[in-house]
């Protein structure tokens, strides 16, 4: 083991983790084996603090009503809370106008909304959509479907062996025919932070729009749409302390106004006659039917929580934990880590292999130690293909994880190795 003196000390973490952990009672629970939970599956979904849980209860207990419809007190309050949450999210990502925030169910729905509302309306056969090899399936499949339906061309920026994107190739892949570049800001499978600047500049030079899949960036680092210079940003509440079932699409207002609705129904229309309907203004145009009011309000509380910590501090903490984990895991015999070697260009995600042990077995044995990690293809099968592995084991961190928990992972892996022995 490297000497612990080489490793970043807990003192250098930017806030008091013990205090944060008290807000997450689930972190005190035990798993089936009786071991204390060590939750390292945050890229899949985060845990929720008591503040967010209380907000859900408070909404349903004190303010519950359908929104935008009633003149009665509860309906007005519920509408206000819903719109306040929208404004909080707008501030959180630096959006100029709360109307640029559309509530969806998740990142997947947000991306599909752009595919339906924008791409289907404006793209012609032969137009190009450029994505990358490190995308989550939710930023691949909607474009494949559109390709098959509309005859657009789908192109991929390749991944280099270290898990970064081939930026030289990107320059020639993005051409005058490219209408949209849709990229993740951070790979959920490898943790690679994508240097968006260079790609955005190239996209803008050819007049293409840029959609950023922020599912792994917005929860973990400062994201400001004013400096990003992109056109759409999609992310999910459940990966940033909020409940399941509430997601966000941010888009530039004129763009959103030019788009067709995704779904038709109540709340998204201005007038309906037997022959035709006219659309409501943005964002209502994209929020057909009764929305997930309670979870949107709770998302507002999650945003408050993260804002109080400060996203710079969140990123600093994750960089420190990831740096520690990269070194600690490198010391475990048989472990090989995929992706960039430094925590600077990597989010709090570490995908790894353990020699002679299948990821399923790693995950299963770690579970008996209370250590929850993800095993599988992480909805990023092109990445697995490029790495030439069927699956990886993945540990991913968030605001409440400690270096002790990284140690629990490392010593758990040592036991896994001993248990299975090296295969002949």
């Amino acid at each position: 083991m490297t000497s612990l003196a080489d490793l970043p000390a807990v003192e250098r973490l930017p806030y008091d983790i013990a205090r944060i952990r008290r807000d997450f009672p689930i972190l005190k629970r035990e798993v089936a084996s009786g071991a204390r939970l060590v939750y390292l599956d945050n890229a899949a979904t985060s845990q929720r603090p008591v503040q967010v849980l209380a907000e859900i209860t408070r909404f349903y207990r004190d303010h519950n009503a359908n929104i935008h419809r009633g003149v009665h007190t509860l309906s007005v309050e519920a509408t206000d809370l819903y719109e306040q949450a929208r404004a909080k999210v707008a501030r959180f990502i630096g959006a100029a106008d709360p109307r640029e925030i559309i509530f969806t169910r998740n990142t997947t729905e947000s991306i599909n909304l752009v595919a339906h509302g924008w791409a289907r309306k404006f793209l012609q056969p032969g137009d190009e959509v450029v994505i990358s090899e490190i995308e989550h399936h939710s930023n691949i499949v909607p474009w494949q479907m559109l390709r098959d339906e509309r005859g657009i061309t789908l192109k991929y920026i390749p991944m280099l062996p270290d898990g970064t994107l081939d930026l030289d190739a990107a320059r020639s892949i993005i051409t005058g025919r490219t209408r949209l570049v849709s990229l993740t800001a951070m790979s959920n499978a490898l943790g690679t932070i994508v240097p968006l600047d260079a790609i955005v500049a190239r996209a803008k030079a050819v007049g293409a729009l840029v959609l950023v899949d922020g599912a792994q960036s917005v929860p973990h680092m400062p994201v400001d749409v004013r400096t990003l210079g992109v056109d759409f940003l999609a992310f999910s509440g459940h990966k940033m302390l909020a409940p399941f079932g509430i997601g966000i699409l941010w888009g530039r207002l004129p763009l959103l106004e030019s788009m067709d609705p995704f779904m038709g129904g109540g709340d998204m229309i201005l007038t309906v006659s037997m022959e035709r309907s006219t659309w409501a203004d943005v964002p209502a145009k994209f929020e057909a039917g009764t929305p997930n009011v309670g979870d949107a309000v709770a998302l507002g509380a999650a945003v408050d929580y993260l804002s109080a910590l400060g996203m710079d501090a969140v990123r600093q903490h994750e960089r420190a934990i990831t740096d520690y984990a990269l070194r600690r895991l490198a010391d475990v015999p048989g472990v090989s880590i995929f992706g960039v070697p430094d925590a600077e260009r990597r989010g709090g995600v570490i995908s790894f292999a353990l020699e002679g042990v299948h990821p399923h077995d790693i995950g299963q044995v770690l579970d008996t130690k209370g250590v929850a990690i993800r095993t599988g293809h992480h909805c990023a099968q092109p990445v697995m293909l490029a790495l030439n592995v069927p699956a990886t084991a993945r540990a991913s961190f968030y605001i409440y994880n400690t270096t002790d928990e990284v140690d629990a992972l490392a010593s758990g892996l040592e036991e896994v190795s001993r248990f299975f022995g090296v295969r002949k």
Partner: protein, 155 residues
């Protein structure tokens, strides 16, 4: 190492033995039927080659990659079917699937080692791993070839 109970239910010594030293793995035979199986959820793949002579499994080989449970199950399956006729092999598949549902070892001849996999039933996420080779065997013998997946849409 494991806490008594949960871990031993899953990783019985005989399972680890088959995992470390798989039987009939990658051996060269002259197959009369073959099938491929995949578990799309975890990327596991298995290929089963069977040499059926006069209705009896004279030789069988498996190849592919997977976790300890899928590899051990495949290895045990090959030992079970070798020398049995096709109908008995398919009865074995039936009995195995039943064991994955109930967690009870069936009372059928030749299942002594295989019964060690009964504990897998307690780990729903691993049932597909254990079943892969058996489903693939059934495909090879009953259908004469082709491919199967363990992903039937259920989660």
């Amino acid at each position: 190492m494991a806490e008594p109970g949960l871990m031993e239910d899953l990783y019985r010594e005989i399972i680890l033995d088959h995992y470390r030293q798989p039987r009939n793995h990658g051996t060269t035979i002259e197959p009369t039927c073959s099938a491929d199986g995949a578990n799309p959820l975890c990327g596991d793949q298995v290929r089963i080659d069977v040499a059926l002579v006069d209705g009896v499994v004279e030789a069988i080989s498996f190849s592919g990659q997977g976790c300890s449970i899928s590899q051990a199950s495949a290895s045990m399956m090959t030992e079970y079917v070798k020398g049995r006729d096709a109908a008995a092999a398919l009865r074995g598949v039936e009995a195995f699937q039943q064991m994955m549902l109930t967690g009870e070892a069936p009372d059928i001849e030749g299942f002594d080692d295989i019964a060690a996999l009964a504990g897998v039933a307690k780990f729903p996420a691993r049932v597909k791993c254990a079943s892969l080779a058996w489903k693939t065997l059934a495909q090879a013998i009953a259908e004469g070839g082709g491919s199967v997946t363990t992903d039937d849409g259920s989660r």
